[in-house]
């Protein structure tokens, strides 16, 4: 039981690094993909957050990004192995187009996550660890403190620039 909890925590850290890296690489903090993402960013900034971090959080809300890709890829690997993860990537791609998102952060994240999750299943992790891990990872960004999360993302974004 303790093993499973440790695996889930490790999976949360791995998923966090994976999705934040892919999202920042695809410049999500730069501009709001849709006007709604910019509105969310302004509201987060109003509580003491950072605008670029808030923009990334708004973009995560408004279209499936690398975090959604990681979650669905982990679900795909759980139900059907690598083909399941790649099917999830296809669904994220369709989801991006439905949500009026011109980017490829979600699809790239899903493909990368498929291989990362599969590799970890070979060394004793379970794909369910990554499903719970990704939910914990998104909770730390979107669900605990918007002001702190947006400032952290803004700091990482400045490093990227």
């Amino acid at each position: 039981m303790l093993d499973e909890i440790l695996h889930i925590l490790a999976a949360a850290i791995i998923s966090w690094i994976l999705f934040v890296t892919v999202d920042i690489f695809f410049r999500l903090p730069e501009t709001g993909g849709v006007s709604g993402a910019s509105a969310i960013a302004r509201d987060i900034e109003a509580t003491g957050g950072a605008l670029s971090g808030g923009t990334m959080m708004g973009n995560i809300v408004c279209s499936p990004d690398a975090s959604a890709g990681t979650l669905l890829a982990a679900c795909g690997v759980y139900v059907a192995g690598i083909p399941g993860g790649l099917a999830a990537a296809l669904m994220v791609f369709i989801g991006n187009r439905i949500c009026y998102d011109p980017g490829y952060a979600g699809t790239t994240g899903a493909i990368l996550a498929t291989f990362v999750v599969y590799a970890f299943t070979l060394i004793g992790f379970s794909a369910t660890d990554f499903i719970a891990g990704m939910v914990i990872a998104i909770l730390t960004i979107q669900g605990l403190s918007h002001a702190h999360a947006s400032r952290l993302l803004a700091r990482l974004w400045r490093v990227r620039q």
Binding site: G36, I40, C62, L72, A88, S126
Partner: protein, 79 residues
Amino acid sequence: MIALYIVAAIAAFAAIRAIVEKNTGRKLPYANVLSFAVSGALVLLLDHPLSLVAAAAYFVGSTLESNAIASTYSGGVKR
């Protein structure tokens, strides 16, 4: 099994925060966590290839709804 409990607890936590938060712009990230948790719980509960399609459909649908609410909230399309 623990994974399912963690995901369900996070879903309940996010739902409460989304209800308590009054500002629409700040409410939506909590709703986003909720859709992550519900999609994950769906696959953990139903171990079947089609549950992936259900989770993806639910996730994309709820994201599109958040997108629509956020865009309307920001003033909609300017013509």
